[in-house]
Point group: C2
DNA sequence: AGACGCAAAACTTGATCAAATTAAGGCAAG
DNA sequence: CTTGCCTTAATTTGATCAAGTTTTGCGTCT
């Protein structure tokens, strides 16, 4: 299966498996691996492979996979084979539309319900993000960028929309890593400064606008990269 | 558990369990029951109850529940108890925003990719829907109304958005039945005529507008009904 | 090239363990 | 003496595991 264990330094991979059902621990582990590109698009995922690797029974693994499939993070490949989905341009278009619509709304709502503590957390996260970009740390960029958006989604106090958008990120994850591996951390979208300023002065519409621009930039970059990879694949 | 088996006359409950894994059969059965209000909001759902009722093992039931929980059709009620979620005004607001945003887009896309066959199917469905309304058949109204929208979503050729919207309907389902049971089939939203006409003349923007109005009408009706029930519950 | 067979993986089941809720019983206070 | 609460036991339910069954894919043989 070739799935490397991630270093527990990642803020999202605390994996406090102390008092947690096995199926949830498996779910969270796989989720992070997909979100940050440790599983390549198209890579097959087998139940028995995971039971061997994670030393858990078959039932928890089955439940975790079923959950991830329901979220679109994995796909049933016809004959009861499970794999990491390959992002097609059509899918990216759909995901892009939803992100462009929902994330600005989340930013708008976050502006209204924002607490000083969460604003500080978002600002701190943005600094970490800039540091990662400056160092060319792709993994750091991916995790901090996700965290930046996740913090805003959390502040919006709209759990259903936040979970929906989270699923969209989950679908972009595997390809994002590939794209970033191609182009490095230069020319990355960053409307975060505008967004932070809008949050500080409590201007919901400005926050929505900044978020929309950030999402559009990111999505367009992925779409163009997808077209390139498809062209290169076709010319093979 | 008090879950009555639905008559197999429903077009969505063919349940051809012939060549289908047990976990999927369980999933589809439960999904339909939730979607059309056969399970009341707040009703507890137990694994063992389902194994007894459906005569299947424990693992398939667990997988089906995990999937439905991931889709928001069921919720984990704290102490590893599963139940049908109760729709709060905040949730309805979120769901409403997403429906108002996504369904017009689906209508827009459906207009462009529409085939004569699918247009006929949609028109036929609308006739069934009107018949159900005229007869005061709540169950028929619920299923045909869902089917009308589902056919449009299918025609849009946008599987991710369609699946996302489907999950929103799944959340409305249990409360929809309650609301309809209160007010009957009068004053139901029906911008379907405008929508059908727009589809026929291939006017994507008009279709999107008609869909938006239909969704807004339906969501507002549910929201106001929710407020009423909450007020009456508070005055108890 | 088509068919047969073997191996691997998924699906299902029943059993076992752990956790939580409920019921019962006893003690104390009014 | 009755009532209310707290503690404890029993039942119900959820979580996990390992074995058996079925299906699929692939390799080989004709």
């Amino acid at each position: 299966m070739n799935v490397e264990v991630i270093a527990p330094t990642n803020p999202f991979i605390g994996t406090d498996t102390g008092k947690m059902p096995a199926h949830q621990a498996v779910y969270e582990k796989l989720r992070v691996m997909i979100l940050f590109g440790d599983l390549a698009p198209g890579q097959p995922v087998t139940i028995q492979g995971l039971t061997d690797q994670l030393s858990v029974g078959m039932t928890p693994v089955r439940e975790a996979l079923r959950r991830l499939i329901a979220e679109g993070a994995l796909t049933h490949q016809g004959n009861r084979r499970v794999s990491v989905p390959v992002l097609t341009p059509d899918c990216a278009d759909e995901l892009g539309f939803m992100r462009k619509t929902l994330e600005p709304e989340l930013a708008r709502r976050a502006t209204l319900r924002l607490t000083p503590a969460s604003l500080d957390a978002i600002a701190a996260c943005d600094e970490d993000l800039n540091r990662a970009i400056a160092q060319g740390d792709i993994g750091g960029y991916l995790t901090q960028n996700y965290r930046f958006h996740a913090l805003i989604h959390e502040a919006a106090n709209a759990p259903i929309m936040a979970a929906t958008v989270d699923r969209l990120w989950l679908r972009f994850g595997p390809s994002l890593r590939v794209v970033c591996g191609r182009f490095g951390t230069r020319n990355l979208p960053d409307k975060h400064q505008d967004l932070l300023e809008a949050l500080r002065i409590r201007d919901a519409e400005a926050a929505a606008r900044a978020m929309a621009e950030d999402v559009i930039q990111g999505v367009d970059q992925i779409c163009s990269a997808l077209k390139d990879t498809e062209l290169s694949a076709r010319s093979d």
